[in-house]
């Protein structure tokens, strides 16, 4: 073993260093096969982070351990604990053998014995507990070892909210070079994973050139597909939560920012100011929410983000990075959730928390803009994944539990997919987003209609904003054939089911009763779960108006005589974050009472609704509109009527009778 520096024995500096690195590489194993390049990996990482272009770590107080035994590692950790409590950043890097035993991950020092790993290995919980005790503002743990993804199994056992709450601004990122069942490969140049990491640290791999510092999350997102070193089947794992508002794993070698040099003095970073905003109770709640992310609820997450944003307001310039940091952490936490739109929901929850404050400062507008960008990216990725899944198997949109519940949820899901197709299409056509080359929205729409066309049925009000967004986007994109098919199917089904649809957010018991009702079809029914006036019917009628389907609709409208439909217009679309909006107007109409045809619907729209919408949004407001549009798709009891294009009245003579 060749210890290069030991914080335990160093007396170069009194007090805590701001950034401390412990870099370990094990080649010379005594009881298992030796490795060839782990020491070199550890040295390269040490050099890059202490003296290279990415350096922020104090070389005097950092340590490089080459083929240490277990006692050496424990001694180094002890030294760091004694000297550097409360450091700004602590990074632990390990290259060597790793193994999973009884659901726990162990790093192998050079004296490790596989048949007695529990007493000769370094359990990951040891490192995690030391991190909790050290209380750095930000901790980064990097493992280039086989099975290192197994480290995630120990995380939740150690990082309990009540422990972490003692350090309110604590953030931790864990990066593992391989999944739980995968080996980590090395060649003559070093561990494949570490080689890629070093490319980012020396600037050969561009992560971004806009931020002075990089987070581990920034880097890991670039690793798999950068086109340099092929990791093969080895999939890096990443787990991250950052409450500090700034992610500072290393200096960004690509950042130039008008020639400014960047300081390693973290006192200049805003996160120091932000840190004090998060009290222990809130920090505990954040961690609790984070650890429970596989089961998160949009409402709960919004409530949490709402309180965080309230605290961020006292440092307005920091809001874009603080909000992004929190949202990105939570988005990464749900990245492996079985619902592909989880990340979009996380971003939407942050938008909802920011939107009430949009008029206060341009920084909030910028923060919302960043979240909207992420929603567009996330929705694009989720739809691309869906498109591939449908290509692979026809029933990809059915839920895994399948069965009869999909009689309600599949039609809802189809509406949601079409809604987000519409959202992405509008983001390109109306709001200048670059189109996603890997995702053909029109082609995906055609696939959905071909396979799931019979599930385009009217089951509930929650479908309304999705179909509206899809129809408006179709109008803008010229997808008339698809839109007409959707309107036609919806109208026929609405009519066949006597205009009966479920209210918003129905409890499962109501869904069951509703499905039974659709089987029985009694002529009279006043069940409380049915919704009237229906905004879904308004959307169908508006769609008929937009695509001139008068002839197809007018002659059977009498079958829906007396059916109510409505349009809600708020005083301001920046109120769309609210659970229930108190301002605004509901315009309610009734078939057979001044409305007998699609053209009458157009007239109603122009006479009673259009003016209200235009008064609400006198000028184009990109952030408000995109936020309101995204929120209406997540909180579907509101319609983004501002997206509806002009629907000119048809001269009565142009409505032909077949």
């Amino acid at each position: 073993m060749r210890p290069v520096a030991s914080p335990a024995t160093s007396s170069a500096s009194a007090g805590a260093a701001r950034c401390v690195l412990l870099s370990i590489g094990c080649n010379a194993y005594q009881h298992v096969d030796p490795l060839g390049s782990a020491e070199q990996d550890a040295k390269s990482i040490f050099d890059a982070l202490t003296t290279g272009s990415a350096s922020i770590y104090d070389p005097e107080h950092s340590a490089l351990l080459l083929s240490p035994n277990r006692a050496d590692i424990e001694s180094s950790i002890l030294g760091i604990l004694k000297q550097h409590k409360g450091a700004d950043v602590f990074t632990f890097y390990f290259a060597g053998h790793g193994t999973l035993r009884d659901g726990s991950f162990y790093l192998c020092p050079c004296d490790a014995s596989v048949d007695a790993i529990s007493v000769t290995g370094i359990n990951i919980t040891t490192i995690l507990r030391a991190v909790c005790e050290l209380k750095p503002r930000q901790a980064y743990l990097i493992f280039d070892a086989c099975n290192s993804g197994g480290g995630a199994l120990d995380l939740t056992a150690v990082l309990r909210p009540e422990i972490i709450a003692q350090s309110p601004a604590f953030g931790i990122s864990v990066m593992a070079s391989a999944n739980i069942a995968e080996p980590a490969i090395e060649d003559a140049g070093g561990g494949l994973f570490t080689q890629k990491l070093l490319l980012a640290l020396n600037g050969s791999l561009l992560v971004n050139d806009t931020a002075p510092f990089l987070g581990l999350g920034d880097i890991v997102r670039k690793l798999p597909n950068d086109g340099s070193i092929d990791l093969g089947q080895q999939g890096p794992n990443f787990w991250d939560l950052n409450l500090t508002g700034a992610d500072t794993f290393c200096r960004n070698p690509a950042f130039t920012a008008n020639g400014q040099t960047h300081s390693t003095d973290f006192g200049t970073l805003r996160f120091h100011q932000s840190n004090n905003l998060i009290d222990p109770a809130l920090a505990a709640e954040i961690w609790r929410s984070f650890l429970d992310l596989p089961r998160f609820k949009f409402e709960d997450l919004h409530s949490l983000f709402e309180r965080l944003v309230d605290r961020m307001l006292i440092d307005l310039p920091a809001i874009p990075s603080s909000a992004e940091s929190i949202a990105r952490s939570f988005a990464a936490g749900v990245a492996t959730n079985s619902d592909t739109f989880s990340e979009v929901q996380v971003r939407a929850a942050m938008i909802r928390a920011l939107l009430p404050h949009i008029s206060k400062d341009d920084n909030i507008r910028a923060a919302i803009g960043m979240q909207v960008d992420a929603v567009v990216t996330g929705a694009g990725a989720a739809l691309k994944e869906l498109s591939q899944a449908i290509d692979a198997h026809r029933y990809a949109l059915l839920s895994r539990r399948g069965g009869h519940a999909d009689l309600y949820y599949l039609p809802l899901r189809v509406a949601q997919v079409l809604g987000w197709i519409g959202f992405l299409s509008l983001s390109e056509q109306s709001y200048g987003f670059k189109s996603n080359a890997a995702l053909n929205l029109k082609e995906l729409t055609a696939k959905i209609l071909k396979i799931y066309g019979n599930s385009i049925v009217t089951v509930g009000e929650d479908q309304a904003p999705h179909f509206l967004t899809f129809l408006v986007a179709s109008k803008a994109a010229g997808w008339s054939e698809q839109a007409e098919e959707v309107v036609g199917r919806l109208y026929l089904n609405f009519n066949e089911n006597l205009g009966r649809v479920l209210s918003n957010d129905p409890p499962p018991a109501d869904i069951f009763e509703y499905l039974i009702l659709r089987i029985a079809q009694p002529p009279e029914c006043t069940a409380p779960f049915l919704h009237s006036p229906s905004e879904l019917f308004s959307v169908i009628l508006l769609g008929a108006g937009m695509f001139n389907l008068d002839e197809e609709i007018d002659f059977s409208l009498i079958q829906l005589d007396h059916t109510h439909f409505s349009f809600y217009v708020p005083d301001s679309y920046s109120e769309f974050w609210q659970e229930a909006m108190q301002t605004g107007r509901n315009v309610v109409s009734r078939l057979g009472h001044r409305v007998w045809s699609v053209n009458d619907v157009r007239r109603t729209w122009r006479d009673y609704v259009l003016g209200l919408v235009q008064a609400t949004l006198p000028a184009k407001d990109r952030e408000v509109e995109l936020s309101a549009l995204a929120l209406s798709l997540i909180m579907p009891d509101r319609l983004p009527l501002f997206i509806v294009p002009d629907i000119p009245l048809l001269p009565e003579t142009e409505i032909t009778i077949a």
Binding site: R295, N337, S338, D339, T340, F341, A382, L383, E385, L386, A389, A392, H393, R394, Y395, A396, L397, L398, S399, R400, R401, G402, G403, H404, A405, D406, L407, Y408, Y409, L410, P411, L412, R413, Q416, V417, W420, I451, Y452, N454, S455, V457, P507, P508, A509, I511, F512, L515, I516, R518, I519
Partner: protein, 217 residues
């Protein structure tokens, strides 16, 4: 109780089990499926109570054998019988929004369970009667029924009120009974009535004897 099975398509596509899904609604779907299961169980329960009074239904959580110490064979344990049924639904039915498949599920599963239960009950009755010799082999309906009613011991409910036995018959026998009811024999009915009343009195007397085994102050 019941297992639903998707059609063969599911087995052809094991990758669906690991597939990610947009708008999964997993929590809500789980609850809705629970409600559907509860409805099936409720309907099966109603059908069961049509033939077995709820006071005679017992629930045993553990074990697969049971003996009743008050039975005539207290040392001869009975194995519990598992009833199960399954119903296939095709993915296409879901895709086509054939909502009637829900109605079919709610009817067919309880019906099938009920059918199995009844078959099992008749098997038990047959085995018991054959082993005890309580079998009436007279092919003439009237004579056979008379012989049966004479051989039956009436019981009382928990309040001591005698109850007449239930009659479960083959459809062919039901037709014979209907035929008899259209042209009843008054003397025969009178004799049946007399025996029934006599049996009730015997049941009350038996109950009184049973009750006196308790200690009273």
């Amino acid at each position: 109780m019941n297992q639903q099975k998707d059609s063969e398509q599911d087995m052809q596509q094991p990758h669906r089990q690991t597939q990610r899904l947009p708008f999964e609604h997993a929590r809500e779907i789980g609850k809705l499926e629970e409600i559907i299961q509860e409805q099936i169980a409720k309907r099966a329960q109603v059908m069961l109570e049509d033939v077995i009074p709820s006071t005679n239904i017992q629930r045993l959580k553990h074990g697969r054998q049971w003996v009743a110490t008050n039975s005539y064979r207290p040392d001869d344990p009975t194995e519990t019988v598992v009833h199960s049924t399954e119903m296939s639904i095709s993915f296409e039915s879901i895709l086509n929004h054939e909502v009637v498949i829900l109605g079919r599920l709610l009817n067919e599963i309880p019906n099938e369970m009920h059918k199995q239960l009844m078959a099992s009950m008749y098997d038990t009755v047959r085995e018991t009667t054959e082993s005890t010799g309580n079998v009436v082999s007279n092919k003439d309906f009237k004579a056979g029924f008379m012989e049966a009613i004479k051989g039956i011991v009436f019981s009382v409910d928990r309040w001591g009120v005698p109850s007449a036995p239930q009659l479960h018959v083959h459809p062919a026998m039901a037709a014979k009974i209907e035929q008899y009811c259209r042209d009843p024999d008054a003397a025969y009915d009178q004799e049946i009535q007399r025996i029934t009343e006599q049996k009730k009195l015997e049941a009350i007397a038996d109950e009184a004897r049973r009750i006196t085994r308790y200690k009273f102050r």
